[in-house]
Amino acid sequence: MSTATFGGSGLGPQAETTMRHYQSQLQRRRLYTVLSILIFAVLIVASLDFANRANSGKFFERLPYLFDFLKTFSPDSPMEVFRAMFDLPSPLADGSLKYDYTSDRIYITESLYIPHFIYQLVVTINIALVSTLVGSSFAFLLCFFASTNLVGAGATRFVVRRIMEVLRAFPEIVIAGLIAAILSIGPIAAIAAITIHTIGALGKLFFEVVENADMKADEGLRAVGASWLERVRYAIVPQVMPNFVSYTLLRAEVNVRASTIIGAVGGGGIGEVFRLAIGRDHAAKAYAIIILLLVTVIAVDQFSAWLRRRLTHGAPLDIAKGVA
């Protein structure tokens, strides 16, 4: 895309002027591009330097040892990972916690048991599911009061939107920590933390969907004298429901990840078990959990994507927005 070829190409005086304008604008744009790239480069170098200084291990000193950890932290045999996953007794058992897979079994009957990690995984998934259900219900109730097309731009909208913002931005670990201090550590704290975040995050997405709804149906209902509640129920809800469901499914995916992380900071479930396993150098257990988590996350993502496709009939959805 060189500009020189236009030079002596015999353009008329008017085209000549246009060309000049175009070229000066192009130059200015290039200048801006170069400048912003420079600013980004400076920012990122400064940030990396700051990060490196703040870190306890220095990046370039530690880089050669990156995979040392993998070398030393490997299970004695692949079978060990399998045994740890399903709580089978290990031939290496020496009474230490590292090779003790059997004592954490959750017995249902005398002989039938649920392996410990799978039980913890079920706990984590249930935490995610419960908080998604409860959170999306509250978000559903709130979102209509935050939509300009339903309540106007008055005080209601302002208050509800600010509430959602605070719920969304409030650090999850603080909610979990506060509730853990009152109720004792466990899944309830994780559920509360994730639910509160879900209300804020989904509420925002929901009211944006409601604001983009087609208001003709609402007008029709208004013309026959329907009340506000009836208009919302019969004009808005049927339009927005497919989008609501897809965003909720997307949030469920995000929440499965969130509940593992919150678990690691004291919310129970697989996250906590994993943190302990990696902290105590129990390689076989850690790898068993990594495999379980990988399989779960892929399964949940695939299932939710399949369900979303069925429900929205292929309408595209802004995935990134749902993540934020």
């Binding site: 895309m1 940030s47 993540v323």
Partner: protein, 449 residues
């Protein structure tokens, strides 16, 4: 609403057949919602049993909850008044809010060697002497006798003055409380606000009013000969030992750096890889499929796993945080980007191609202009989300404000500091949400995303 309109039978039959899908709905259409709600309710009830919600709520310590929540906006001074050699001596904990020998207006020495503790006004106070403590509640005096075996409340004591075993507890509501024991009185005096927020007790500026401080800034002698007053104030605030402003600021910056660098590097990595993964750009099924599985793999390994793994390699700090955000996000962004590329309008590419441009130029002028605004908007969403993730990741061991929050919560005594950090985080999240919203709006207008 329920009047029956008169419709001729013939019409009725015609309408019924014509609008069969409206008038005769299937079982699932009629009761689906109800069944769904029933299933959800049942599931939630079962979960409540599974997670022991009811026993946990019954065992909950609600008095603690109110105390902790009060701690968010107020502070407690907790001297112990010890009875020693027939006198009363105040003792402060290490985290004392007063410097040695400070004059405290609510804790006054008495002529006989005792102390008077004021709970707001003269009608609510505690006269502490080694032999007897007089609790004055609402202007009425209740003497509490102290012997070697313990304290004993008078018989006519009100509900706010209670005998608990060998000690007597006096409650003055928000203003505080006191535990009277055989050898000492635990005083707890609560004030609204955050104690020593600007200057700690070691600072020369401690205990000065805003007027005095303003006077010192404008004129007045240097309290520290080496520095001007305003510089000395800045130094003292920054190095405040109880509130650790400097330390907390640095941790907050670490969290921000984690999110910023992680997302930016993830974006830079995902950008070229997305072109390989897109069906319409790279005409190799194997390459498309392989790249997409790589994205799935990176994305599916939980951020927690990456964080713990890199913390083991690099030690606690922002680098593991950056690395874990980078790895998950290059997967997630790669997937989102490649989908965006697959949905482009092919006409522009064909146009550039028909001019005989090389394949890089075709992509540069046929694809990038279409997808760049979308890419930037997606990355901004991920950045917003990552500021929050970085807080939690930090708590797992990657450092930053998350770890600081976890430490402050662990002591159960620093809830005011937790509130301070939460306010900082909320502020930062709001600022960056607004910046990214503005950028997005400038890039693609309000309708797009």
């Amino acid at each position: 609403m329920h009047s029956t309109p008169l419709i001729p039978l013939a019409d009725r039959a015609r309408i019924e057949t014509q609008y069969a899908d409206v008038l005769q709905r299937s079982f699932l259409q009629r009761f689906g919602l109800l069944i769904g709600l029933g299933v959800v309710t049942l599931y939630l009830a079962l979960s409540a049993v599974f997670f022991h919600v009811v026993p946990a709520l019954q065992a909950a310590q609600w008095d603690r909850a109110s105390a902790y929540l009060q701690d968010w906006v107020s502070w407690r001074a907790q001297p112990r008044l010890r009875f020693e050699d027939g006198k009363v001596t105040p003792r402060w904990t290490l985290r004392g809010q007063y410097p040695e020998g400070a004059e405290i207006d609510w804790l006054r020495p008495r002529a006989d060697g005792g102390y008077t503790v004021y709970y707001g006004n003269a009608e609510n106070r505690l006269e502490v002497t080694p032999k007897r403590v007089d609790a004055i509640i609402g202007g009425v005096l209740y003497p509490v006798d102290i012997s070697d075996t313990g304290a004993r409340a008078p018989d006519n004591a009100p509900a706010s003055l209670r005998q608990e075993g060998e000690k007597v507890v006096v409650r003055y509501g928000f203003a505080g409380q006191a535990e009277i024991r055989a050898s000492q009185v635990y005083v707890q005096r609560r004030f609204l606000g955050w104690a020593n927020f600007l200057f700690d007790t070691r600072s020369v500026f401690w205990g000065k009013s805003f007027g005095e401080l303003a006077g010192l800034v404008v004129s007045g002698e240097r309290l520290d000969p080496a520095l001007s007053n305003i510089a000395a104030m800045g130094r003292d605030i920054w190095h405040n030992t109880t509130w650790q402003h400097g330390e907390i600021f640095s941790q907050l910056m670490q969290t921000l750096v984690m999110a910023f660098v992680g997302t930016l590097l993830g974006t830079l990595a995902a950008f070229p890889l997305a072109f390989i993964a897109a069906r319409n750009i790279t005409r190799s099924r194997a390459a498309n499929w392989g790249m997409k599985r790589v994205f799935d793999f990176l994305r599916s390994i939980d951020m927690l796993i990456w964080a713990l793994f890199f913390t083991r390699s690099f030690g606690p700090g922002p680098i593991p945080g950056i690395a874990s955000i980078f790895f998950t996000d290059s997967g997630a962004l790669g997937k989102v980007y490649s989908e965006a590329i697959e949905n482009i309008d092919e006409k522009q590419r064909e146009g550039v191609k028909s001019l005989g441009a090389a394949s890089t130029l075709v992509n540069r002028y046929g694809v990038v202009p279409q997808v760049l605004p979308v890419f930037v908007s997606q990355s901004l969403y991920f950045f917003e989300s990552n500021i929050r993730s970085a807080t939690v990741i930090g708590a797992v061991g990657a450092g930053g404000i998350g770890l600081k929050l976890l430490e402050a919560m662990g002591t159960n005594a620093d809830w005011d500091k937790v509130a301070y950090m939460v306010l900082l985080i909320l502020g930062v999240v709001f600022i960056f949400d607004n910046i990214s919203n503005t950028l997005r709006w400038k890039l693609i207008g309000k309708q797009g995303h």
